[in-house]
């Protein structure tokens, strides 16, 4: 199958959506499909061989994070050229409602179009106000995928319609053999992974809880992995604990796996805006027990505490209590290590990719023709034959199937 995937965000900046697309693409390539990814990037040389550059990006605040996006006339030309040359059987858009190559591709293509919604958020005012403009374009999407029940709910609230839920995957084999970082004690380390300057990742809650935990376990270390201002963080905790906090800054995915593996417990104190707990699965794949806030998305991944422990969201004293308990209970941790691995296997990309291919299959048979350019919305298209719906040809394609 020839599959064209559109990534809305900058490829050179790590993020959940980009990681999802990369893992999906690699899993599809392993199965022998042809895949090409159209993505904006500010560093063309580091693009993998399966990706096509859509131009550099501008930064905009979006959903509590900084999103690097692309939306200008040059992007239109590049997207259309990519569509024309790619000759794809399936066009797979990600986050089709962000101003990005995704929306341009939805606008300028017709045929078997699949879209994945990642965001879960209460209100996206920009989208709500733009809805009447986006609606006809969104109707071209034949199959919608949401990465979680929360993402599906957000999508339904904003656009109506329905979606199938296919969770995010994790590349278990990239994590299961991770080596420990030198200088850390597997029995005495708490790990946090996420941007330190993003309030919704909840690092402040962890820092509020840590003094009590440090008092209880004198040899305990805290490992904070992720970009952010170190001084800001140190300011919010008593200076006598400073020597026991280590920072890793921004790391690549191999080092990140080692960071998970070095932990006694991995803590995810997120406050919200998470649509799926991929970080939890990564930690579980390395065999590290997880302690997470009881957000609906996290609860579902941990199956209400079966595969990892939960504490009350944004409640530092509950976090401290659960953390002390879990570090002290070795047999419980061993149990969670085994259970966590099993859970991560269920979300391995080799399983998830089959579900995505099932979506492709059930859409591909719909049209019997591949993705092509759509001129219907334009004056040129309305005046020429290219723009008209050719019912006869579509009908015939079913007869020959």
């Amino acid at each position: 199958m020839r599959i064209g995937i559109v990534c809305p965000y900058d490829w050179s900046v790590p993020g959940g959506v980009k990681q999802h697309i990369q893992d999906l693409t690699e899993s599809l390539l392993e199965l022998g499909h042809y895949v090409n990814v159209l993505t904006p990037t500010s560093d063309e040389d580091s693009l993998p061989s399966y990706a096509t550059n859509a131009g550099s990006t501008i930064a905009l605040p979006y959903n509590g994070s900084i999103a690097r996006i692309k939306f200008d006339p040059a992007a239109f030309t590049r997207t259309r050229n990519w569509l024309r040359l790619g000759n794809f059987d399936i066009l797979h858009l990600h986050e089709p409602n962000t101003p990005s190559p995704s929306i341009i591709a939805a606008w300028s293509a017709r045929g078997p179009i699949v879209a994945t919604h990642h965001t879960s958020n209460e209100t996206m005012y920009a989208v709500k106000n733009m809805q009447f403009l986006l609606q006809p374009m969104m109707e071209k999407v034949i199959a919608r995928i949401a990465v979680s029940e929360e993402a599906k709910k957000t999508m339904v609230d904003h656009f109506g319609g329905d979606a199938v839920v296919i969770p995010n995957g994790v590349r278990v084999k990239n994590f299961s053999h991770a080596q420990m970082l030198p200088g850390f004690d597997k029995e005495q380390t708490v790990v946090f992974v996420g941007r330190l300057d993003e309030p919704r990742k909840g690092v402040q809650v962890l820092l509020e809880a840590m003094p009590a935990v440090f008092e209880k376990y004198p040899a305990l270390k805290l490992l904070l992995v992720g970009p952010g201002d170190v001084d800001e963080i140190l300011k919010s905790i008593d200076s006598k604990f400073h020597s026991r906090i280590q920072f890793k800054g921004f790391v690549d995915s191999d080092v990140k796996a080692s960071c998970y593996a070095s932990g006694t417990v991995y803590v995810a104190p997120n406050l919200g805006g998470e649509s799926f707990g991929i970080v939890l699965l990564e930690a579980m794949a390395t065999g590290t027990p997880v302690l997470a806030s009881d957000l609906p998305a996290f609860k579902r991944v941990l199956d209400d505490g079966k595969y990892g422990k939960l504490f009350k969201t944004n409640n530092a004293s509950d976090l401290a209590k659960s953390l002390i308990e879990l570090i002290g209970n070795k047999s419980e941790r061993e149990h969670l290590r085994v259970e966590g691995r099993t859970r991560a296997e269920q979300f391995d990309w080799s399983v998830i990719v089959r579900q995505i291919l099932d979506v492709y299959e059930s859409v591909k048979s719909v049209e019997g023709r591949n993705v092509r350019e759509d001129f219907r919305g334009q004056l040129y298209g309305r005046l020429t034959k290219t723009g008209r719906l050719d019912r006869r040809r579509v009908k015939n394609s079913f007869l020959t199937e």
């Binding site: 109707e139 071209k140 034949i142 979606a163 099932d358 299959e361 059930s362 048979s365 019912r391 079913f398």
Partner: protein
């Protein structure tokens, strides 16, 4: 009337006609989408029946449940060849789903059947594709119905000769034992 007001009326009418043609075009695309989705659903159901007859012939599984599945498939296939699309047809598809669910209940363990792994995975895929195709069909039908209910569409008969899409409802759940296959 002044000539300028005639011009205003003419331009207004032209814009209104343009808008109507736009809505009609959109509705036409929606109808085509529904039609295609319906074809896809029929195709996935046929594929599921085909693969289920292999499962029904698998000696390793419980005999009574297998014969229930075989009966359901027989009904489904014969209905299809008669091309009768009644409410009854969807009950038969529900019955196929239910017998699959009993065959592959939550105690089912794929590791016990190493030689049949491919077949079982294919079955899991077929049940998923039926679920996806049904979701996409109903999604398309719902959006077409929503546009068709607008008074402008009804009063100007913008839907032409296309018939009103119907929602389809049958049991499309994925058997618990096949969930992670």
């Amino acid at each position: 009337m002044e000539i300028s007001s005639w011009v205003v009326v003419a331009v207004g009418l032209f814009l209104f006609a343009l808008y109507l043609s736009n809505v009609a075009g959109r509705l036409d695309r929606l109808h085509l989408k529904v039609e295609n989705a319906r074809n896809a659903l029929d195709r996935q159901l046929a594929l599921r029946s085909a693969i289920c007859s292999d499962i029904a012939g698998l000696d390793l599984l419980d005999t009574t449940l297998r014969s229930r599945l075989a009966n359901a498939i027989h009904a489904s296939i014969s209905e299809e060849s008669l091309d009768i699309h009644t409410k009854n047809e969807w009950d038969i598809e529900s019955e196929v789903t239910k017998s699959l669910c009993e065959l592959f209940n939550k105690d089912f363990d794929i590791t016990k059947y190493p030689n049949q792994k491919n077949l079982i995975q294919e079955t899991a895929g077929a049940t998923r594709r039926v679920q996806y195709a049904l979701t996409f069909y109903n999604d398309a039908a719902r959006s077409a119905i929503k546009v068709r209910r607008r008074w402008l569409v009804r009063s100007f008969r913008l839907f032409g000769r296309a018939s009103m899409p119907v929602l389809i409802d049958f049991d499309d759940q994925i058997p618990q034992g096949l969930e992670f296959c």
